[in-house]
């Protein structure tokens, strides 16, 4: 009798593991399919953000830096500054506010000064700042 129950238990075990194995074989590809593939992008280390003449003092412009937006600001005194335009709060795109002479995020009223430091509203961290160079008429932004 003992051998029959242990044989039955063995068969149950085989059946159980094959059910689990089958389910795994079905579910694993489905789960991997749902996770989007990582797309490797060529890292862009410098970009022409704007032409000098399209950026009067006390204004800003969004530029494309790789796959992310950047913000180039020409301060009222004519200084050029570049930042990541991605708000550190919840991923919105910031803009330069000429009235307040600040960087501002419209989504949740986050405020940054012209050094990219978070000075008001919910943003928890400063904006990443990039070095700026002038090359002739071009404003060139580099990755720090």
């Amino acid at each position: 009798m003992g051998s029959i129950t242990s044989r039955r238990r063995f068969l149950d075990y085989l059946l159980g593991t094959s059910v689990v194995a089958t389910l795994t074989a079905i579910l694993y590809p489905i789960i991997r399919f749902m996770a989007p593939p990582h797309i490797v992008e060529a890292m862009q280390n410098s970009v022409v953000a704007a032409k000098l003449n399209e950026l009067p003092p006390n204004s800003g412009k969004i530029f494309k830096f790789g796959s992310k937006p950047g913000l180039i600001v020409r301060t009222a005194s004519g200084e050029l500054k570049a930042f990541s335009a991605v708000c550190t709060h919840l991923d919105c795109i910031v803009q330069y506010s000429p009235e307040k002479k600040q960087i501002w995020c419209a989504c949740h009223n986050g405020q940054y000064n012209l050094n990219g430091e978070n000075i008001g509203g919910p943003p928890p961290r400063p904006l990443e700042q990039y070095p700026v160079n002038k090359r002739g008429d071009d404003i060139v932004v580099n990755r720090a």
Binding site: A35, P69, L90, D91, C92, A106, N118
Partner: protein, 354 residues
């Protein structure tokens, strides 16, 4: 006559007469709070409107970043009554969330979730979450600036969830950023995954309501009359639904749903950007939380708080059980509900006016 044999043929196979007998027996309690019974059925009706108008929109909508905005524009300007169908879809979605909230709070305040209706409540909360996800995913489909930023913020919030946040964010966005891949995914959720899930949970929810009948608040338990569901209550339901169609048509005609400006991944968020009204109270809360709370980022605290509130919402029937045994707990829950309604109302109004 052919009718009689046909009836018998069907009856033998489908037990129609048994169903008809059961329908005849179904009654609805009549008392001073009976009005709240209509809001569940109203929500269901608006859901049906969503299904019908949604299928119609599918005839023209094209789910890609290149085409989505233009296809909705085409629906609004070229397709006959396209503006009407799309506006009704948007208005009805909003009214459905509203009636759903009214339905939920009426059940909450009458404590109709007590034994044996705990699972009716739980499936109802699942349906609430599904409807909010419907709203969130559908909002992106026209691919305009407001919807683009709403999705950026909303999915970024999902990324804050401990442990699984980053994986969840990539799953929702179909990558690291909100792009056409996100739109394709949201479209799939909106027209396939969510409808399938909603159908299942709606089925269970309605079945449970049939099983347990309408809940009667304790103070009317002894003295209330009853109304036949069929046809008396259903006829009253019908009047409500006809009124709803009228309201929807009027709203769609007087305030056709705007399309806005096509999304641009390299443009700043427009000033005055706001989410849909049912997210406003959370949106406004996130504005008020300071950047840092102790060592944590403020937004993390806010989001964890709302997740906790959601978990409590599910668990309510199991926390506040046996009200006759614990009358004090009953009162606390009523007070909590009043606070929640006031909080949502005040924050929504501030968010709307800001």
């Amino acid at each position: 006559m052919i009718i009689e044999p046909l009836k018998n043929w069907l009856d033998e196979r489908l037990s129609v007469s048994a169903l008809a007998r059961a329908a005849k027996k179904k009654e609805v309690p009549l008392h001073r709070q009976s009005i709240w019974y209509y809001f569940g059925g109203m929500t269901l009706f608006l859901f049906v409107v969503q299904v019908v108008t949604g299928i119609l929109l599918l005839l023209y909508y094209r789910p890609s970043a290149e085409n989505a905005f233009e296809s909705v524009q085409f629906i609004m300007t070229e397709v006959k009554f396209g503006w009407l169908i799309r506006s009704i879809h948007s208005w009805s979605a909003n009214l459905m969330i509203l009636t759903l909230f009214i339905h939920m709070f009426s059940v909450y305040f009458m404590q109709a979730y007590n034994r044996p209706r705990e699972l009716t409540w739980v499936t109802g909360v699942v349906l609430l979450l599904l409807c909010i996800t419907f709203g969130f995913s559908g909002y992106l489909l026209p691919w305009n600036t407001v919807s683009f930023f709403a999705t950026k913020v909303g999915t970024d919030i999902a990324g804050v969830v401990p442990v699984v946040g980053k994986t969840l964010l990539r799953f929702l966005r179909g990558g690291d950023e909100v792009t056409g891949a996100t739109l394709t995914r949201f479209f799939g959720f909106h027209v396939a995954v969510l409808p399938a899930m909603a159908t299942v949970f709606l089925g269970i929810h309605v079945l449970l309501v049939q099983l347990h009948g309408m809940h009667v608040p304790a103070r009317y338990e002894q003295n209330h009359r009853r109304m036949k569901f069929f046809p008396n209550f259903l006829m009253r339901d019908l009047i409500g639904w006809i009124l709803a169609i009228g309201v929807l048509a009027a709203l769609a005609a007087l305030f056709p749903w705007e399309l806005g400006v096509k999304a641009d991944a390299f443009a700043p968020a427009p000033a005055g950007i706001k989410p849909e009204w049912y997210f406003l109270f959370m949106f406004q809360t996130l504005k008020y939380i300071p950047a840092k709370v102790l060592i944590f980022d403020g937004e993390v605290i806010g989001i964890l708080f709302f997740m906790l509130a959601g978990a409590v919402l599910f668990a309510i029937p199991f926390i506040n059980h046996s009200p006759e045994k614990y009358p004090r707990r009953r009162k606390i829950f009523i007070a909590l509900g009043v606070v929640a309604v006031l909080y949502i109302a005040v924050m929504t109004i501030i968010g709307y006016l800001a």
